[in-house]
C-alpha cells in the first residue's frame, strides 16, 4: 500500500527564536531523524520526503465565479500546520503507523497517516 505520512506541528514554536537556538533544536532531534531514515530506508528504499516552507508563507488560491482569488496563508487557522510529508510504499497500516511514530514531530506535534487511493 502507498501511504502519505503528513507531518503536523505548531510552527509558531519557531517564531522569534535565534538562529543558534534553532540550530540547537535541530541538532537535538538529529539522532531521531537518523533512526527514522534508517528504518524508513529499510522498509521502503524508494520512500521520499519533503519539508515545506512555513504555512504562513503559503498562498491560498480559489476560483470563484471564474475569478481567481489569492489570499495569504495559512489555509486553516489551526494550531498545527502541515510542515512536511513523506510518500512511501509499505506492507500495511501497522507498519505505516510504526514508521510515523518514529518521526520526531510525532512527539511535539502529530502525524497523519493517509493511505493513497490506487486505481
Amino acid at each position: 500500500m502507498k501511504y502519505a505520512l503528513l507531518v503536523y506541528s505548531d510552527q509558531s514554536d519557531w517564531d522569534g527564536i535565534s538562529v543558534e537556538e534553532a540550530a540547537e533544536r535541530r541538532a537535538e532531534s538529529m539522532p531521531r531523524w537518523i533512526t527514522l531514515f534508517e528504518e524508513m530506508g529499510k522498509a521502503d528504499p524508494d520512500a521520499g520526503g519533503r519539508e515545506l516552507v512555513a504555512a504562513a508563507e503559503a498562498k491560498v488560491v480559489r476560483v470563484v465565479d471564474g475569478e481567481t482569488i489569492i489570499t495569504d496563508g495559512p489555509f486553516a487557522e489551526t494550531k498545527e500546520q502541515i510542515g512536511g510529508l513523506f510518500l512511501t510504499t509499505l506492507p500495511d497500516l501497522d507498519e505505516a503507523i510504526r514508521i510515523a511514530s518514529l518521526v520526531p514531530a510525532a512527539e511535539y506535534g502529530s502525524m497523519e497517516v493517509r493511505p493513497i487511493v490506487e486505481r
Partner: protein, 400 residues
C-alpha cells in the same frame, strides 16, 4: 433453519471466511463467496443430508463459486493471480481441513484492529467470527438493519483502503493487540448482560456469544493467560445473571442475592478456567477481575477480596477500579478508610455509583444527613428505574 444447521453454519463460517480471506486478500470477496456457499448448502443439505465434513464442503463450494465469479469479472486487475491462488484451495468436499492453516485467529485480530471504531469492531467480530447474521446483530444492538449493514460495509471498506493487515500480529505487537480483542469480547458480553428479561432473547444471547468467542480464543491462544482470565470472568458473571434482578425488576446487590439462583455448573467451569489461567503465572486485569468474581462465588473473606482489588488497582488504576476497591475495603470492615479512598477519586463526575457508594458508607457510619445528600446526588444522575427505586428506599431509611 433448524437449530443444528444454524449451529453448524456458525461454527463453519469463520473457518471458511478466514481461509478465503487469506487466499483472496479481501474480506468482502471472501464473505461473498462463503455466503453463496451457505446459500447453496441451505438448498441442498435439507434435501441430500448434511455432508460428512461440512467445513470442507463449504470451503470447496466457496472456492468454486469464487472462481466462477472472478472468471465472469471483466475488469479485475489481479484476476489471473487470484484464480491461481484459488486453485490451491482444496476442491475436495471431503478434504481434511486440518491440513490447511486455521485463519480464525487472524480473522479475529483483523476484526478487532484498533484502526476501526469500537462499534465497527464489535459488529465485524459478531458477523465474521461468531457467524451471526446482520439482522440478528442489528436486533441485539437495537439498531436498524440498514444502519448495521452500513456499519459493516464501511468497516470492510476501511480494512481494504487503509491496509489493515489480515494476520495474527507479530510478537512485538501482541501485548498491545491482545487487550483490544479481549475488550471487544467483554463489550459484547456486557451488552447482553445489560439486557433485561423483557428484551429480545437475541440481545441476551450476546452473553452466550461472547462466551463462545472467548472459548474459541482460548483454543487458538492456549498460552495466553488473559484469554482464560476473560473466559473465567464471563462464566462467573453469567452464572449470577438470574440472581441480579428481583421478581419486581429490582436490582439485587451481590450480598443480597439468592445463591440458589446461581448457576453452579457455570461457576465450576469458571473456577476451573481461572485455575488454568493462573497456572500460566502471568497475572493480568481480566484474571484479577475473575479472581474477585471467584472470591464472591466461593464466599471468600472480605479482606481477601479487598486485597485482590488492591492488586488490580496496581495494574489498572482507573477510577472505576479505585471505586470498587474503596467499597471492598469498607466491606472488609474499614468503612472510614473506604470513605477516604472514595473522596480521593477523580474523573468519575456524572457517574451515579460514586455518590451512591459514598452515601452507603456514610449511612453505615450513621452520618445520616450527609448520606441523604449523597443519595440525592446519585438520584440526580440516574434514569434507571430499578436503580432509582433502590436509592429512594435508602434515602427514606436515612430519614431524607
Amino acid at each position: 433453519m433448524t437449530p443444528s444447521l444454524e449451529a453448524t453454519f456458525r461454527a463453519e463460517w469463520p473457518r471458511a471466511v478466514g481461509i478465503l480471506t487469506r487466499v483472496l486478500g479481501d474480506l468482502s470477496l471472501a464473505e461473498d463467496a462463503v455466503q453463496d456457499a451457505f446459500a447453496t448448502a441451505l438448498e441442498r443439505w435439507p434435501r441430500d443430508g448434511v455432508p460428512r465434513s461440512p467445513g470442507a464442503w463449504i470451503v470447496a463450494t466457496a472456492r468454486n463459486g469464487a472462481i466462477d465469479r472472478i472468471r465472469r469479472e471483466k475488469t479485475f486487475a489481479r484476476k489471473a493471480e487470484l484464480l491461481a491462488r484459488l486453485e490451491d484451495v482444496p476442491a475436495d468436499e471431503h478434504a481434511d481441513l486440518s491440513s490447511i492453516p486455521d485463519e480464525r485467529l487472524a480473522l479475529l485480530f483483523t476484526c478487532c484492529h484498533p484502526a476501526l471504531a469500537v462499534e465497527a469492531r464489535i459488529a465485524l467480530t459478531l458477523r465474521e467470527v461468531a457467524g451471526l447474521q446482520t439482522p440478528e446483530i442489528a436486533r441485539a444492538f437495537l439498531v436498524t438493519e440498514p444502519a448495521l449493514a452500513q456499519r459493516l460495509v464501511r468497516a470492510k471498506r476501511r480494512l481494504r483502503e487503509t491496509g489493515i493487515p489480515f494476520r495474527v500480529p507479530p510478537d512485538h505487537l501482541l501485548p498491545d493487540r491482545v487487550p483490544d480483542v479481549l475488550r471487544v469480547l467483554y463489550l459484547v458480553f456486557n451488552e447482553g448482560y445489560a439486557a433485561t428479561a423483557g428484551e429480545s432473547l437475541v440481545r441476551r444471547d450476546l452473553c452466550a456469544e461472547a462466551i463462545r468467542l472467548a472459548k474459541l480464543l482460548c483454543v487458538l491462544m492456549p498460552d495466553e493467560p488473559e484469554a482464560f482470565g476473560l473466559l473465567a470472568l464471563l462464566l462467573l458473571q453469567d452464572a449470577r445473571r438470574e440472581a441480579r434482578v428481583g421478581d419486581d425488576g429490582e436490582l439485587v446487590l451481590l450480598g443480597d442475592q439468592d445463591r440458589r439462583l446461581w448457576d453452579g455448573a457455570s461457576i465450576d467451569e469458571g473456577l476451573r478456567v481461572l485455575r488454568r489461567a493462573e497456572s500460566l503465572r502471568r497475572p493480568g486485569p481480566y484474571q484479577l477481575q475473575a479472581a474477585i468474581a471467584a472470591g464472591h462465588a466461593e464466599g471468600a473473606a472480605p479482606h481477601v477480596i479487598a486485597a485482590t482489588y488492591a492488586a488490580l488497582e496496581q495494574i489498572d488504576p482507573s477510577p472505576i477500579v479505585r471505586l470498587n476497591r474503596a467499597v471492598a475495603v469498607a466491606l472488609a470492615g474499614d468503612v472510614e478508610e473506604g470513605l477516604a479512598l472514595i473522596e480521593g477519586i477523580e474523573g468519575l463526575d456524572g457517574y451515579s455509583y460514586l455518590p451512591a457508594a459514598r452515601a452507603d458508607l456514610l449511612r453505615r457510619l450513621e452520618r445520616h444527613s450527609e448520606a441523604a445528600a449523597s443519595y440525592r446526588e446519585a438520584l440526580a444522575l440516574t434514569d434507571n428505574a430499578p436503580e432509582r427505586r433502590f436509592l429512594e428506599r435508602r434515602l427514606r431509611d436515612v430519614g431524607g
